[in-house]
Amino acid sequence: MDVKITKQDAKTFVQLTGRLDTTNAEQFQSDITPLMEDANPDIEFDCTDMEYTSSQGLRLFLMLQKTVSSKGGNMVLKNMKTQVKEVFDITGFSNIIKIV
């Protein structure tokens, strides 16, 4: 999993490439945690090149969503491949995490 973080004004863009699973979930969490320190985090994940997410990835996104919401911020996952989106759909998480 390759994580590329860029900042533009107050917004953070995160480009995800590859598979998010147990082998790299911890690293992903360490990469993302600093972004949660902002007062009103505004984070956009570009999932164009994300190939897969495991349950561990789901848990991380849920945790991020919870933190961002509690800080009055905004988080969105964009351009998800169908096979990745399906994981969110069949587990019932599509209406908890903002996916466009």
Binding site: S55, D89, I90, G92, S94, N95, I96
Partner: protein, 370 residues
């Protein structure tokens, strides 16, 4: 400098003004204590109010008052509104509830307190509030360096938001209750006061009726009389408390020994209503008639994956998908469900098409084909 300003007052009034200046640190401390005690007590009692205001009368305002009627005050201790507090409630019955609370936390000077709600004569007008004159009891706060904190009095007004509106507008007319006013205005002012009083009573009554309705719904739900309970936000919330989807949810989670992540089910209410569900019995029937097939759908989707977490909404979501599939709702029916749950998007159409396609392999979709 304000200290040198005598506001054109006579010597008696200037003496009172000087006492006011000397007492200012006490007034400021008193305001702080009164605000804190009220805020804490209201919170502890779970009374939700519109506003809590406290203030220390300004020197200019006191000078104005002394100019008008300074001779009636012996000294500063006769003025009971130097520190003032106001609690504004939403409902009229809460004014009495707060009054009872105030009686517990402060010493009320009953001789000088007045229920202005009850003192209107036929030739006066108004829609007034309850005014208590109080002291801070020593057991609530005592500072040996500032004994006046327990001796000086403050005024506490308790009123509804509509009484507050009346008081604010009344102030603007220039007429005060008890003062003779032109007859042509008296009738209209009384009508307005009557309307506000009526509205306050109606709001209070409406709240009581809604609370009665909620208690009745809870009782019907817990007794299982679902057919008597119309489906709405309140009843659905009560219904969810008995965990109607738990059996299916745990069966689905057990497919992969998955963790259940708690999520809000309330957004599904609009879907149920859009599908024409009228009572809680309709949801009970949905569970009874489609639970097995919803489990089959979930097993088809999840078994064989490494997913080990599901949302607590998954049971109802799958019930609705199966309901649409078996009742000919088709792709558009599924899209409607996803649009309402997840927000409208083109992807929802794609997902609906995928589910329709995959469902061809499920037993329940081929029941009627032998």
């Amino acid at each position: 400098m304000a200290q040198d300003n005598d506001y054109g007052l006579d010597i008696h009034c200037l003496m009172i003004l000087e006492q006011y200046r000397e007492n200012m640190p006490v007034y400021k401390k008193m305001e702080e204590i009164v605000h804190g005690v009220l805020e804490e007590s209201l919170k502890a009692q779970g009374i939700y109010i519109n506003a809590l205001e406290t203030r220390v009368k300004t020197e200019k305002s006191l000078a104005g008052k002394l100019e008008l009627k300074g001779s009636k005050y012996k000294d500063i201790t006769d003025l009971t509104d130097i520190v003032g507090a106001r609690v504004i409630t939403f409902y009229i019955d809460e004014v009495d509830k707060i009054a009872a609370l105030v009686d517990k936390v402060f010493d009320v000077d009953w001789k000088h307190s007045v229920d202005k709600r009850k003192v209107h004569e036929l030739n006066t007008f108004g829609y007034s509030s309850l005014h208590y004159i109080c002291r801070i009891p020593k057991e609530r706060y005592f500072d040996p360096a500032m004994p006046q904190l327990n001796e000086l009095r403050f005024e506490l007004q308790m009123r509804t938001a509509l009484q507050h509106v009346w008081a604010t507008l009344d102030h603007d007319t220039g007429y005060k209750s008890g003062v003779e006013i032109p007859h042509e205005y008296l009738r209209n002012m009384n009508r307005l006061a009557g309307i506000l009083e009526l509205v306050d009573e109606q709001f209070s009554q409406m709240r009581s009726e809604i609370n009665d309705y909620r208690r009745k719904v809870q009782s019907l739900v817990s007794d299982g009389h679902f057919e008597q309970v119309a489906l709405d936000g309140d009843t659905f919330r009560s219904y969810l408390q008995i965990g109607p989807f738990d059996n299916l949810l745990h069966k689905i989670a057990a497919i992969n020994q998955a963790e259940i992540h708690p999520s809000g089910i309330m957004p599904y209410l609009t879907v149920l209503q859009a599908l024409g569900f009228k009572t809680l019995a309709d949801i009970e029937n949905l569970i009874k008639d489609y639970e097995e097939d919803a489990y089959e759908l979930a097993a088809y989707q999840i078994a064989g994956t490494d997913i080990d977490i599901v949302s607590s909404t998954i049971a109802l979501q799958d019930l609705l998908i199966v309901y649409i599939l078996e009742n000919g709702g088709g792709i558009l029916g599924l899209k409607m469900v996803f649009d309402k749950i997840n927000g409208e998007s083109d992807y929802n159409l794609k997902r609906a098409e995928q589910i329709m396609d995959g469902a061809k392999n499920l037993k329940f979709m081929n029941k009627n084909n032998g």
